[in-house]
Amino acid sequence: MHELFIAESVVGSAKKSLPPGVEPESVIEIHVQVGQLDAVVPESLQFMFDAVKASHGMPVAELKIETMAVRCRCPGCDLEFGLDLPVFVCPECGDRHVELLRGRGIFLNGIRIDDGKSMEERESTPL
């Protein structure tokens, strides 16, 4: 259950990323990318985020989680490829020393602040 630690880290990172004068209370959405390889259960992260957000002064913030798919590169034949299963083998030449390009790590990639816009206006302008 590392999701509690990650949820705390998400809130902490979001707070540090707010421009001067913007209060944490005004945060309505926090967007994160979670690597497929990181074994983070989105429902658990969501649950933990909801459990800790108020104590960090962001009572109305919602967490939006996007999974970052694994992408690899083969050093042998230079092929770039995605994985459906955790099998780090080049599908072209069989090289087993493939390089991980993405799909590992947890990144904050946007914060939405309440600026009085309606829900409809917000939804028409994705972050």
């Binding site: 259950m1 990323s17 955790p86 020393h97 990639n109 600026d115 972050l127």
Partner: protein
């Protein structure tokens, strides 16, 4: 108002790990983050490894991670080495040792004249793999009774580690283990992973494991 940003959520955790790293470098200590399932044999392996290292004139210390008890550090105290118990319960009962916990433990640990520091992580094949602590090498202990499918079920762990110790080799003949399949699965996840088979009970493979540590330490320096 939208604030677009790309920021590593674990930056604070990683920054503390880098501080640990600098501390280890200043003290010329080689650090191994030892991970694996509960009951895979991590503590028993340390009990048998540390005396061999001592016989090779290498002094060890241990940060013993656990959620709540001191049972493992009590066992290791017979080795008469510096040990710090790092329980995660005061930190929220985390199922992994975090870089902040290592930092707190280091303030209680005298690393003078210590060559190798083992961080025995909390028994778990998922969470500990996520976090960099400032270590030189990550090692996973996979006991043979756990079965050949574990690398596929916990890919990050086997992807992150440089060595997999296949432990409890003394009972392999009693198991329905497909060893070829296990090695194949490990290779599917991490083609660069070193693999050693050991038994802390019989001592088989322990010399190879100690040689691996010595070689990796020399490479690091």
């Amino acid at each position: 108002m939208d604030i677009p940003i790309i920021r590593d959520v674990l930056e604070e955790s990683n920054a503390r790990a880098e501080e640990n790293r600098a501390f280890f470098d200043r003290n010329n200590v080689f650090v191994i983050n030892l991970m694996g399932s509960p009951g895979s044999g991590k503590t028993t392996i340390l009990e048998h490894t540390i005396p061999i290292l001592r016989s090779r004139s290498l002094a060890s210390a241990v940060i013993e991670g656990d959620i709540t008890t001191t049972l493992d550090s009590d066992r290791l105290s017979a080795l008469d080495i510096p040990i710090v118990q790092a329980n995660t319960e005061p930190f929220g009962g985390d199922c992994h040792v975090g870089s902040h916990l290592v930092q707190a433990a280091l303030s209680h640990l005298n690393l003078k004249n210590i060559d190798i520091l083992f961080i025995e992580n909390i028994g778990n094949l998922v969470c500990p793999a996520e976090f960099y602590l400032g270590e030189d090498r990550k090692v996973v202990v996979l006991s043979l009774p756990e079965g050949e499918d574990k690398p596929l079920k916990y890919p990050l762990m086997f992807r992150e580690c440089q060595l997999c110790l296949l432990s409890k080799a003394d009972i392999e003949r009693h198991l329905d283990l497909d060893r070829e399949k296990l090695l194949f699965n490990l290779g599917q996840i991490n083609g660069a992973l070193d693999i050693l088979t050991i038994s802390a009970k019989t001592g088989a493979g322990l010399t190879d494991w100690v040689e691996w540590i010595i070689t990796q330490r020399q490479t690091q320096r």
